[in-house]
Every structure is written in C-alpha cells, then in structure tokens.
Symmetry: D2
Subunit: 272 residues, 4 copies
C-alpha cells in the first residue's frame, strides 16, 4: 500500500510541513509547537470565554471546544451545535485565539467558515465522504487516528485530504483500542510519533486526554509525547471537571494545565 | 451503559423482531433465514444480472452489490455510484430479488428510494449523523459492527436508528480487528451471535467474506455461523474472482456458493 | 517464518495425523472426533468419579480434570496436585476413560506416566523448556494456543514438540485476548480451524468453555466449532457449577452437556 | 481482583520501594535511575567484555546479556547457556557492573547465584512455578509484562514473588501486542508507568528495544519513558548490530547509546 502514499510521503516535499492557522500567526510543524486546549464541549458563553482566557494565559495557542458532539448513546448530550459555534467564535474574538472544533457531517461545513482548524474525529477517521468535502477547502484540518486505525490507514485518510487539494493537514494520535481497558480508556501509542516522522512531512499532535481517559495520566503522557518529538498537544481543560457535560474523568483544571505547560516547556528546552 | 439500551433490548418487545424486506416477501429474523449474496462491487450490467440469477438459483434471497464504495485509498476504484445503482435496480427487476447496497453519505439518501435494505458499513458504524438520517426512514437497515466496535457500541448505534423511528434493523457481525493479521484479514467473532441473542430482539447476520478476507475460509465460517444461531449470511460471490475490481481474495464462485448453500441447509435442518 | 514449519507442515506426511490416546482405543484426527469433558479442577473422589460416569454416558471419550492449576492470583486455589492426580487415575480405572490433565512444570513430569494426554495450557504455550521436556516423551500432548498467540506461534510451539520426537500433538484453540471484554472473557477464533487445516496435518480441538468464559455461550460455540471442521471439543462440566472451586461461570451441568452432545452429533451427521 | 493486591499495593509500605542490586551499590526506585544495557545475547568473551566497557562508559549501571534464550523457533539460536553465563560473570569481574540475565526454567536457578538480577521474560510472565521458585530467593527480579498481559496480571505475577518472600521486584513494561504490526513489533504502553505508580510501590523500568522492535524508535521512546516517570531503562546495545545473533533490527550501537544517555540525563534534569 505504500505506493499509495503519494502526497503524504516524506519526500513529497523537502522539509517538514508547517501548517499556518488562519490569520493568527500560529503555526504547527517544522519546529512550531501547537498547544490546543479547552473544554470537551462548549457549554455556555461564560464557560468558554473564561476557559479561553485561562488556557491562553497558561500558554495555549489554539482554543478547542466541541459543539457537534459524536456520542455513543443517542441519549447523551449532543453538543450546543450551531449556537455553540457562535459562543466559540465569541471566545475567539475576545481572546484572539484561533479555534478548532469537530465537524461530523458535510452539511454543517458552510457554518465552519470562521473556524480556524476543522477536527475530524476518531469515529469519522474513515468517513471518506467527509474527508473529500473537507479536502476541497483550504481550512487546516486536524485528523485523528481511528480507534482501531493503523498508521497506514491514518496516512491514507490524510491522502484523501491532500489528494483533494488541502495540504494543511495535522495528524493526531489519540490512543488506540487494546485489551487493556481496566486502567486506561485507550492505549496511547506514542511510538506513532517517530514512526510518522519517518513516513510523512505532516506535523503530528498528541491528545493524551482521550488517549488515556484519566486526568491523572494526562500530564505524564503529555510530557512523554513532547519528549518523543510531537509537534503539539491537545488537552482538555475545564474550570469545573466534576460538572463537565462530557469527559469529566479526563479534563484538567486550568491550574493543573498551567503547571503542565511549564514542564512541557522545560522538556522542549532540554531537547532543543 | 446498559441503561441506555432502551429500544434495542431483548424485552422491549416479547418476541424476536422479524424484518420484512420491501414488497418481496423476504423476511429476516424469528426463524426466517436471510441469504444475501452478490459481488463486492457492481461492475457492469452483464455482471450483476448474471450474478443475480446465479445466486438466486443457488438459494440467495437478497442481492448485494456495492455502488458507493468506501476504499482505504483515494486512488482505488470508488464504485459506479448512481450509475451502478441503476444497474442494481435492473437486476432487481429482472430477477425479483430485493437489493441491498451501502450508503456512505446522507446526500445520496434520495437515490435509495428503491433500495430494499440500506447497508451501513463498518467504517460508518459510528457515523451518527448518517445513522440519524437513516433512522428517519422506514427502509430496513443492515448495520455492520465497526472494525473495533464492541457489542455495546453496535447496540448503541442500532439505538440511534430505533430512537429515530426505524425499527427495521438487522445487525451484522463482520469480523473485528485483532493482532492476528497474517492468516486472516479480521477475526470473525461468532460468539457475538449468542451474546446478541441474549441482549436484543434484533436479527443478526454474519458476513464471513469480510470477516475472514479469504475465500477458502468463507464456507467453514458460514457453516459455523449457521450452527451458532445466526439469522442469515452475507456472502460475496463473483463470476470471475480473479478479475473482481475489489475484494478478489474473498469472493466465491457461483458454483462454490451453491455447494455451500446446500450444506447450510443441512445444518439448519439438523438443528431444527 | 514459514520455512521453520518443518515437521508440523501439511505436506510433512501425506494424510491427516491421527493421535491414538494410550491403550484406550480413542483416537483424535483424520475423522476421529475427540470429546474431552470434565471439571476445571479435580475437587474430590466423589466429584471426579460421578462426573466421569456422567460425561462418559453423554458421549465423552476423554476425561479432563485439573490438578496443577495455574491461577492468576497466588491466593486462589492451586489444585489438589499429586493427590488430585491419584483421584483422576481412580476415575480412569473405574470408567475406562483415558485422562488428560495440565502439566505446569517439568519437575512433575515423572508423576504423569499414567496420564494419557498432557495438557500444555495457554500461559505455558511459549514455555519452551516445558515443551522440550514433553517433546522427549511419547505421551500425547494437547497444546493450547496462547492468550495472544498467533497461528504461527502455535505451530512453532508444536514444532518444539515434534522436533523433540513427540509427534502425538493435538492443537487447541481456546480463545484469544481482544478489546471485547465486557460480554466474553476471550474471543474464540474459530477461523483458526480452517486456517490450521490448510497449514498442518495435526488435529485441532476447540475449547469453548475457556474460549467464551460463559456457560450460556458454550453450546452455540461448540456447535459452530463442529460445523467449522474441528476434530474435537474440550468442555468443562461440573455437577454443581455454583460451587465449583474454579471457573464456575463457564461450566455446563451434565444434563446440559448431554443435550449438547446430541446436537453435536446431528451436525456431524449433517456434514458427513 | 484488587483485593488480591496484598503486598504489591501502594500502601503496603509508606514509600517507593528501592531495590538494591547486589554488592554493587546500584539502586533502582525511589529516585534512583537504573540503566540496563548490553546485547540481546552473549555471543563471545570479546563481545560481552567490549560491550560492557562501552555501555558503562556511556552511563549504564547494569549489564544485560541473554544466555538462556527463549526463541519462537526451535531452530533459532538458543543462547550459549551455562558457558554464556561464565562469560557474563567475567565481564562483571572486569568492569564491576552488576549483571542481569533471563531465567527460563527452575532447574537452572542453582547456576544463578552470582547473577545480580534475574529476568523473568514476557513469555514466562505467567509461568507461576518459575515465579514461586524465584520468590523463594532474595535475588532481585526484573519481571516483564506479558505480551498480552494486563496491568492486573503483571501485578498478580509480582504478588507471586512477594508472597514467596522476595520483595526485590522491578516491573518492566516492554510493549504489548496490538493490531498495529506493520510499523512496530509491539505497542509500547507508556501509560503503564503512571498507572503502576498509582497502584504499587515497586519500581518500573521500560524496555524500548523490545517495546518497538526498531532501532530508530528506541531513542524517542526511551526519552518518552523517562519523561513519563520511569525508574529506569533497559536497552539493547551491540557493537555490530548487522551481525547480532538475535534482535539485530532493534539494537543500538555504543555511539548511539551514548548520545541517547546524554539526552536522557537532560530530561531527568529538566524534570527534577
């Protein structure tokens, strides 16, 4: 299948690809480190604005917040949808942070014009019709590895985006499904970082929040990902984890996030 | 999460659910055995019509044929799409067999009015927006288990369909991803059959073609699935496997399919 | 690695290998079907003798009973050991049934002279020093697939036995470890049966008791294994499952076992 | 099962356990970092002595070298066995480094009196008779996680050692078996480090050589393990990887190892 790695392959361009995030000046790849932080779901104007300010102050350069939420159960909170997107845009305006949020269906793409990075989630990692639609835009895309996605499949899904004309692709390792389900929700496969660095020029970001499913594992895994050479991190932060409408077990408080950012910077300095 | 099994759970209705397939009189579930057969992809008028006649003669009661093909590589054959759907309808008219084909995006749903069963493939097993759209129709749905889908997740995806108002759901075990990748493409989890029989009133069909990825394993696994209590089988048949445009390693010839059907019937008689 | 399949490979001998079990006249392989049944652990003289008579009456031709028990916790019942072996021999004398029990260390091998089949358990599937020791005897061996054992590894472990001079090897599929852990203890990989039939002349037996870990799944999986072409079954039976000292969740009562045996025979007749 | 975590559990003693390695003064745990390095297999006197000097110069404090080699194929090199052990002891005398080597059968235990750390390999992780025998000694043990071992099972195997009276146990994460087999031999589960740190007082070491199976992934994964809080590393080093008698794909040269050690120290300083 490696002959199918046409545009994603390492030698397609002579240097690591740098993805520029909208008009913000933020970059990911080629030495630029992206720190994406925010709540799992946008819940209210106050919540998202407060969190945006807090994560920005701690060192984050991209704000995350889910508004279209793919949930395993139809009876779980499905996100604030279009209204949530407006709140996210407000937070962007007030803080100047570029925003990332997940797209789960092509029909919502017209709403995403002011979104700086489109997230393709793990469940839609092989939703090729969605990838084709996003591949026709020039909006940067953060593409998550599927829950049982191989490295090959992740790259082939990226190939759908690049083949469509959108080269602004950031890959994201977020944990894979293994037999170990008692102590971690997923198994974060950090070896994917150096493996992908050999295969592709695209930047790779790690999500230790979904990758472990446990708040107390986020910091050590974020540090490990940084040491392994990741181009960025994606971390869930909530001002009141116990009351989060989703993923409450895995989000950090702003204070925990700030402490972590300081350690991440130390690792980056040590290895530079 | 079992508290979320509202409409799919065993006791939601007092008997096994029987799914009636269009105007054809074919039923699946509650003692009715569905035999879905045909090529991985519709390739030409002659191919699909010939195969329809052959599989019908051998005992199949539903014709399968992919027209919108989700392929790992963007450079692989993506199916004949709308034109292929017309060929499939022609085969339906000529043979009287109800037809099943995969839907990969909501925007093609209007084309599916004459399709008797909509297939939701493994890659879209947690594409909830697609499930919501199909849940608003009354067209029977064959819902495949995701490649790393748990039994819970399969049932929760079915719950999306039933919660939307569409109760005509057939579950499909099609192999899961495990560490054994040298001799089989996937690991067919036949224990899912009796597990699901305990949990839900919905019928369950097994796809040994995708479940093993090897033509020589299709017959023994089809017999095993029948012995384990499946409500039906889904089998890829091609008149010239070596020249099939996709999945050539796993399709049976019409003659092999006919022999298998005779053995399947013997198993069913032995256990009745 | 296939070049290492020297003595286990299909064409090493022109016909399927038939393993003769001691002086009993019982055979497994080449059309001979072995039905191994009995308790997980030998608990008392009365228990093992009663069960031996019950499973023999129902159609079993080999009696199983663990005496050296490999348990995950050091604080769990470790088996009656040498004393249990004496009880198992008594049951053999009273019923005429050949016996199988697990060997977990080479130093107990001298005690196994009257044992008809030595079982190598899943945890010791790659305990090569144990395999080398057993390979020097002529006692038939039932070799279980490791919990994460590939088909290749199972055959290479068998190769250790044959290379040592012991050709009386029966392979045993007993479920592999996958991400599905909520509804089944392991995932029984029945496709291993036809895969192994292509690769080796050795007989293959299936253990649906350990393969599923649930008594209600044993019968459908035993029937499925039979339909898929297994050369035998290994099933846990206990006269009082609720009080069994180990594996109480997965053992059948003698009555359930008898009903199952009748169905197994019907499947075998249907396919003969 | 957590109630069975009697002696391995975090609160069994009030502080992290420090394992002292023989008379060498080397310690692992409680802030002491162990660097175990050397060849996969001891091949000759010259090889092991040269490598011992090289890895010591680069910062290693324990010398590894396999002499009893568990190999998947009976036809592969099985190690120099007792003669190899003598060579390893020579290297110990010449360099003053404590030595670690794998024990695969209880009958070789009398040969291990001058061995400083006994390694229990992944394949013998649940060989309870071997664990019981080693548990009766006071020799420090490095216990590797099984290829499909859960965190629970690793701790229960350690419990066998501690219950026997040997508290000098070092746990070792060395990669687990997952569906990703194309680009890595195993999936190194670094989240096991913080998970185990919460559950037990025992030190945990990481083996990125076996954990990835690829030399080019060893350095990034060693750095990641250090950042995640490991108490040590175990790394294969060979003076001529291309000619190594086993595991040639995954061993570093002494020069690569030296560069890595410098980076590891920078990470440790950054986080101290």
């Amino acid at each position: 299948m490696s002959e199918s790695f046409k545009t994603v392959r390492k030698n397609h361009q002579p240097h690591d690809h740098v993805v520029s995030i909208g008009a913000s000046g933020v970059k990911i790849g080629g030495g630029h480190f992206g720190i994406i932080a925010g709540p799992c779901a946008v819940e209210s104007s106050q919540q998202i604005v407060e969190l945006a300010k807090a994560v920005k102050a701690a060192g984050a350069n991209i704000l995350r917040g889910g508004v279209f939420k793919p949930r395993t159960s139809p009876y779980d909170f499905q996100g604030l949808q279009a209204a949530g997107l407006e709140l996210l845009k407000t937070a962007k305006q007030l803080t100047g942070m570029p925003i990332i949020t997940e797209l789960t269906a092509t029909n919502w793409l017209p709403l995403f014009t002011e979104v700086d990075v489109i997230q393709i989630g793990a469940r839609n990692s092989q939703n090729y019709e969605l990838l084709k639609a996003v591949g026709k835009t020039q909006i940067p895309v953060l593409l998550k590895r599927g829950l049982a996605g191989t490295i090959k499949e992740l790259l082939m899904s990226a190939e759908y985006l690049l083949a469509g004309g959108n080269e602004n692709v950031i890959l994201c390792e977020r944990g894979i499904r293994t037999y170990e389900t008692t102590y971690t929700r997923n198994t974060l496969d950090l070896s994917a970082i150096p493996v992908l660095k050999k295969l592709t020029h695209l930047p790779i970001v790690v999500d230790p929040s979904h990758g472990t499913g446990r708040a107390d594992l986020v910091a050590p895994m974020a540090l490990a990902a940084t040491a392994a050479g990741a181009d960025g991190l994606m971390i869930e932060v909530h001002n009141n984890p116990a009351k989060a409408l989703s993923d409450k077990e895995q989000c950090l408080t702003p204070a925990e996030f700030q402490t972590l950012m300081q350690q991440v910077m130390k690792i980056r300095e040590a290895l530079s």
